[in-house]
Amino acid sequence: MTVETQRRRGNYVERPTPSGLAEVIDIILDKGLVIDAFVRVSLVGIELLTIDARIVIASVDTYLRFAAATNRLDLYEKGGRDLFEVLEGGMESGAKGKVSGALEGVKEKASETFKDAKEAVSGDEDEEDQGEEQKEGRQQRRPAKKTTQRRRREQA
């Protein structure tokens, strides 16, 4: 029990305090109880939150993005040693952590692009200019998105 208590704020899980607009939107977007529409006054500007402000990208663009990320990987870095071997060796010894160490140099470059793109979009108020129609058409063609909107109550 002592050990567990000490672990409570361990090092493995990141525990940020949400303060930025993007984080706050992520928490409150489409959430909260909706009160009856007939008394609710919709003021201009609210539409920002009634549409999904998260990334909406047509499938081809998404695939090309995935391909680009895959092609950016440099699996043959670090003194010509084949990282396939490193990966397999790591897996065999059960120490997958090695891989990330070996790839450290490549990592930053590869992840920057996506982080930037995401931040640009989630804070992007231009989203509201997108017609609802257009947005829905695009949504249907989204590939990697799973509709796992699930909800379960184990107890009342």
């Binding site: 909260g32 003021l43 939150l49 895959t70």
Partner: protein, 246 residues
């Protein structure tokens, strides 16, 4: 505070909640409680001529809800609820919603929301995908040094295969994470997410007395993903995901 002034409604709390002195809401207006029969609405007066939805509005809304969440149960009302007159708060919200609010408040009492988001390390996960899938490795070799225009369709195919492979990994691993955490929670809501690095995005409703066990379970899950993915836990939060209609 005249009756004909529009009011912004943030949420609903038990009527015996004391509003924190000096708390201001949207546009710096003082926050007050309007009570009716055991339930109270958190409101502030608002100028209807100014559009709502600016950065400062969202942050103010979030701050007010969060402040009340530290005091006890709160039912957040979705951003953007403005009633034409102060009197409408009782007639249009508290009275018609009375039974529902009581039920939610008692259900949410002693519980808080935690948002967990898992992100793959992009390099690590793509390396796995390439290593485990010969077809992907081959297409990657074919396309990576070619001019973009010459390999357009091959690159689309490559991306499609990568997206599929990632979806399979995500499906299996997010289920494993949920299986480990759900037993410590009252309810959960899986949120959509996308992108190469998306692993899982889920909101949990957690009993205060189970919080330690829940947090430790997230630590174990994060440890098992070390080097491949990171978990980020935000909370305790107001139960934004657990007040919407079924």
């Amino acid at each position: 505070m005249t009756d004909d002034q529009p009011h912004y409604v943030y949420g609903v709390v038990p009527a015996d909640t004391s509003p924190p002195p000096g708390l201001v809401g949207l546009r710096g207006a003082p926050v007050e409680l309007i009570q009716r029969d055991g339930v109270a609405a958190i409101v502030s007066a608002i100028d209807p001529d100014q559009p709502l939805g600016k950065r400062a509005d969202l942050l103010a809304y979030s701050r007010v809800i969060d402040t009340f969440a530290t005091l006890g149960a709160v039912v957040p009302i979705r951003f953007g609820a403005v009633l034409p007159r102060r009197g409408d708060v009782v007639d249009g919200v508290l009275e018609p919603g009375d039974a529902r609010f009581r039920e939610l408040l008692s259900e949410l009492s002693g519980r808080a929301q935690f948002n967990l988001r898992g992100r793959y390390d992009e390099t690590a996960i793509l390396t796995e995908v390439v290593t485990e899938n010969p077809a992907i490795a081959e297409l990657r070799e074919q396309t990576r040094d070619q001019p973009e225009a010459a390999s357009y369709y091959s690159r689309i195919r490559l991306g499609e295969l990568v997206a599929q492979a990632l979806a399979e990994k995500r499906e299996a691993e997010s289920l494993r994470i949920l299986d480990a955490l759900v037993p410590h929670t009252v309810a959960h809501n899986v949120r959509d997410g996308e992108g190469v690095d998306h692993l899982v995005d889920v909101a949990f409703l957690v009993d205060d007395e189970r919080r330690d066990a829940f947090e430790q379970a997230t630590e174990s899950a994060a440890r098992s993903l070390l080097g491949r993915a990171t978990l980020r836990l935000i909370g305790p939060l107001a139960p934004y995901d657990f007040v919407t209609e079924e």
